[in-house]
Amino acid sequence: MAKPPSPEPSPEKGDGFSQYRRKFLAGLAEVGAAGAVAATAAGPARAAWGGSTLQDAMGSLFQDHYQRMSRDEIQAALQRIERKALRKHGVEIHCEDTPPIPGVVFGYALNISKCKGYRDCVAGCLKENNQGRDSQVQYIRVLQMDRGTMNLEQSDHYYDPKAVPVPGKFYLPVQCMQCDNPPCVKACPVNATWKEPDGIVVIDYDWCIGCRYCMTACPYWARHFNWTDPKIPAAEINPNTNYLGNRPRPKGVVEKCHFCTQRTRKGRQPACQEACPTGARVFGNLMDPKSEIRYVLEHKTVFRLKEELGTEPKFWYYTDDRPNGS
């Protein structure tokens, strides 16, 4: 598309078409502000459009793709998200846009000798990432497998015994593998999902159109669709959110594990690692040669799921078993 000439193309103001769009939006904001003032003068602000005012609805309608937004536009989008959460749930959340840490690529390893199938990771993830409690969106799926087989098709993830681990079974938690060659990114028709420099595959929930092609493409059943409006109890909402992570999602978009960007990009562990009581999960920076994840990959028997598909997942599994049984 030919770009019209602009006096000073800069990353702040954007260049080309974005400038004109910004001017249009600014004019619209004035109109919207006047409209909002009129509405509030008339009575309590009636939240239409899924909990937004006219100004916010128009703003989010014309919101650009995350990778094309300027810093100001991202700030405006974050404020819209915070206002919407306040109106919808009555909770003040804090939405940030944390950039990836340079020189860091995240990797995850899980010790299947230690995993006992408690599902503490699933519950911790639910609370941390503001997932709908009654929808079927759970980023982590713990498969109960028969010992001696890696047949994932014959696993059971609805297991509900009295006590776990069940003898003769082992447990394989599956979540987004943050592939280095992600099929979901290739499948998305609108580029709403992409791989960030720190290796995490993220989704711009405001750009996703809900076609679910990515869910078909993912071989690990890692992506989940919001068939309903996610209902989160207001007392349990996590107020520390990230734009490309755990901010409250609308109905009709796909979401998935993002290695807790709101935590890991600030040096904290992901919620599943903190929740696991057996210490089966090892998270860290693959670029750091002295990290625990690198020690596991270099010294333990590791494997990945569906290696033959060439997706290069960054989630490994390892065991404690040694040839001499120690």
């Binding site: 408690y118 699933v122 059971d156 993830h157 006590a163 904290r268 562990q269 009581p277 625990e292 404690d320």
Partner: protein
């Protein structure tokens, strides 16, 4: 013909040279005459193993106990701190009760009395760690009960219990030091804090018991979980044209 004769003589000379060196791999017929003599002499004197070349004793003599180095930790390990555990011990400091410096202390491994016996100990005194092969004073320092000790006599603080556990569980200890076992507290970057062994494994009763799992993922109302469907029903390509699996009679 001449070639065969020369080969046979060459083989014969080879045989003689091999017998001179005393090596095996000769035809049994030729060896039978020679084997009889060493057997006769072996019966007369004590049977001695002929040492293999690899198993010669070291020229300097065997290593002595004083030459052994005490294990001081893995040099290449990333630095770490241990999350303190002492504050979780119920009856601490131990010198509240263990303050009689008795001249003779019975350190024989035996079964001790435990509460609710009125003369029993109010803490662990009989344990299953090692199926009865380990007893209290193998880890606890007899003369100063607020400390643990290693097998070479060094005193170890309760917070550093991993050093004591690592004496037997050496592979686990190495994994723990490098991060493949146990859990890292706080963040993946910055100060590295590890949970001590005793945080998860009670040394007096180390077996972890099964417990109830979290709730299974929700299903929409009216649906049943699709467990092991392929074991009960045949796969699509296994059904015949009539819609029945091979070898199965039609149901009425």
């Amino acid at each position: 013909m001449a070639l065969l004769m020369s080969l046979r003589s060459a083989a014969g000379s080879l045989l003689l040279s091999m017998m001179a060196l005393g090596l095996a791999a000769v035809p049994p017929l030729a060896q039978a005459a020679d084997a009889a003599e060493p057997a006769a002499s072996a019966a007369s004197s004590a049977f001695r193993h002929r040492p293999l070349r690899e198993n010669q004793p070291p020229p300097e003599g065997l290593p002595q106990a004083s030459d052994l180095e005490v294990f001081k930790g893995y040099p290449g390990a990333p630095p770490y701190k241990v999350v303190p555990r002492k504050q979780n011990i119920l009856l601490y400091p131990c010198s509240m009760c263990h303050n009689l410096n008795l001249p003779k202390l019975n350190t024989t491994p035996r079964k001790l009395r435990v509460a609710p016996d009125p003369n029993g100990a109010p803490h662990w005194a009989v344990m299953s760690h090692g199926k009865g092969r380990i007893w209290c004073l193998d880890c606890h320092f007899a003369r100063d009960r607020e400390w643990l000790h290693t097998l070479d006599g060094a005193k170890v603080d309760f917070n550093d219990a991993a050093v004591v556990c690592g004496q037997c569980h050496s592979t686990r200890y190495k994994d723990w030091v490098f991060g493949a076992h146990g859990k890292r507290a706080e963040g993946w970057s910055g100060e590295r804090e590890l949970y001590s062994c005793a945080h998860c494994h009670d040394p007096h009763n180390p077996t972890l018991q099964p417990r109830e799992p979290g709730r299974p993922p929700p299903l929409r109302a009216g649906l049943a979980p699709m467990n092991r469907v392929h074991e009960e029903t045949p796969l699509v390509w296994q059904r015949t044209q009539e819609g029945l699996p091979h070898g199965q009679a039609a149901k009425p």
